[in-house]
Symmetry: C2
Subunit: 369 residues, 2 copies
Amino acid sequence: MSIPTTAALDLSLEAAALTAALCDIPSVSGNETALADAVEASLTTVPHLQVLREGDAVVARTQLGRTERVVVAGHIDTVPVAGNLPTRREGDVLIGRGTVDMKGGVAVALRLAAHVARPARDVTYVFYDHEEVEAERNGLGRVLREHPDWLLADFAVLMEPTATAVEGGCNGTMRIRVTTRGRAAHSARWWKGVNAVHEAGHLIDRLRAYEPAEVDIDGLVYREGLQAVAISGGIAGNVVPDRCDVDVNFRFAPSRTVEDAEEHLRQIFDGYDVDVLDAAPGARPGLGEPAAADFVRAVGGQARAKLGWTDVARFTGLGVPAVNYGPGDPSLAHADDERLDVGQLEVCESAMRRWLGEGRDRGDCGLRG
Amino acid sequence: MSIPTTAALDLSLEAAALTAALCDIPSVSGNETALADAVEASLTTVPHLQVLREGDAVVARTQLGRTERVVVAGHIDTVPVAGNLPTRREGDVLIGRGTVDMKGGVAVALRLAAHVARPARDVTYVFYDHEEVEAERNGLGRVLREHPDWLLADFAVLMEPTATAVEGGCNGTMRIRVTTRGRAAHSARWWKGVNAVHEAGHLIDRLRAYEPAEVDIDGLVYREGLQAVAISGGIAGNVVPDRCDVDVNFRFAPSRTVEDAEEHLRQIFDGYDVDVLDAAPGARPGLGEPAAADFVRAVGGQARAKLGWTDVARFTGLGVPAVNYGPGDPSLAHADDERLDVGQLEVCESAMRRWLGEGRDRGDCGLRG
């Protein structure tokens, strides 16, 4: 365990004030240490928690010997600040980087960790780094590799912003590069060549004609999508291009495996060179599992499909059902005007408390709750 | 006049050997000084020529007081060497960088300069640098700016490769950037955005549907063309692109002005942002002018339209009719297997001699011809 160099957070603050305090320690991916130190320092003072550290990820867990263990997780990094820190409060709205994605969720998780001393289920709280960057740097992935035993659980909740709806599973994602080939020629004698950019027009026709599916799994609808995300071609201002690369992102329902997705794309782009750039499997919602069903019942409302790829897929990849559930409008994540309706913090915290329940030896750690 | 630091060329060599000697002094654009020095040194020994120098351009002219003056010009630079130097000879073929574009033509011009001492028309020979690069560095353009009086003439022949056909005038060229706009969104929620690359598919449809004209001027046919030469778009692998730039090169007959060409393109791409990147006017063939008609008669054969933009347009821009005429298959210019049928050197030289004629005070400078 490292020696904290930052003042501990005051976990007796109400959730909105704690969210603001978390945001006001900037933690853009790669610069999470100060915030991880603060989180660790504050949790270490909580008597009912065992606290572990792995890089800039902090894990804290109850050890009550319950028959069930659940994970409550959130990432502590943010995308770059856009002149929107420190946070400011306008009425019921807290404005600034991280308020939605996802220090509001982290604030709720920290308050649960501090104040729910005797949950009916043992809880492992995970606060991790590097979620907003390349998958191989992801802090949750690193903890899973280095200390798989830390994350053993029956169910997991990622407190990503969902505007307090339960979002189950997630779509998979695959990026491919589709290449058209032509024959270079001087543009003054263009008929000697074959224009690969013009040929890319045919390829884009296929993209435009594609009708993405909506797939129902466990009552949740996963909407697929097939979008060009980049295009490049050209040799010189007077040369017919002999090659054009179109990068395509396929978001696919968890009913497809990565292999299914690749096969599907190769059919769509039959006749062109196709290279897979990267891929991540989707996650089935798993809402039929008892722990998940309990969660949906406890927090209420109608569960829906998660469309973006999130770290829930890391848990479902391990056979652990997982959902997203947290405060904040997800469409404001990463936005320059990122802002949180603080009422959602209370909705979330109450729902999570209902679900975690209190064991027979009811009590809390003595902090003001 | 600079002090030549290179041995003079032997202008008594027959044209194929002289072409090889010229090629074997590499002169990729920007590195023409050694060759310019050699050209200058060799012409300075010819008693009937006045020799001038401007940077790496060498100008040599007869001063016989003829009623007509013509320019015979060629560039001495080449595109980069592709492992194809020194030249080698296989039977009637000379192989290597510059053999076609255009040291074969330069060799013929140098031989004419040295051996036609009393032409019926005064002749200004121009050997210039930086033709294969951006127009603003072009050596002919620089001489025109710095010493416009050096190039006064009634007619000009550029000895660019035409396979010994007279090519009159040239197409104009314009490059534009056409931009499609969309709205960025996360690719997992693609329906919140508008994909600018998909929109570029519509733009490419217009390019593919375009039917370029063939325009008859003075009996020569100018084939137009409209080609995408570059495309780029994309923000990140998980973002719907909000912008796509397509660079388009329009090659237009000299019946259109630059302004006409721009207006035409703005109509074709109506609804998109269009920016003109660069443009150069075409040149009408001007074969109705007496000096040009004489030239076509003297060299024989059927004149045809020049399709690429060449420096003839610099002369026609001054009101001086100009044609391309020279040895070498133009489709081999810049090719890695650039190679010259040396028989074309003799055809060219004979034809040029017929046209230049010999004045009453016939004779030559005493070199072996």
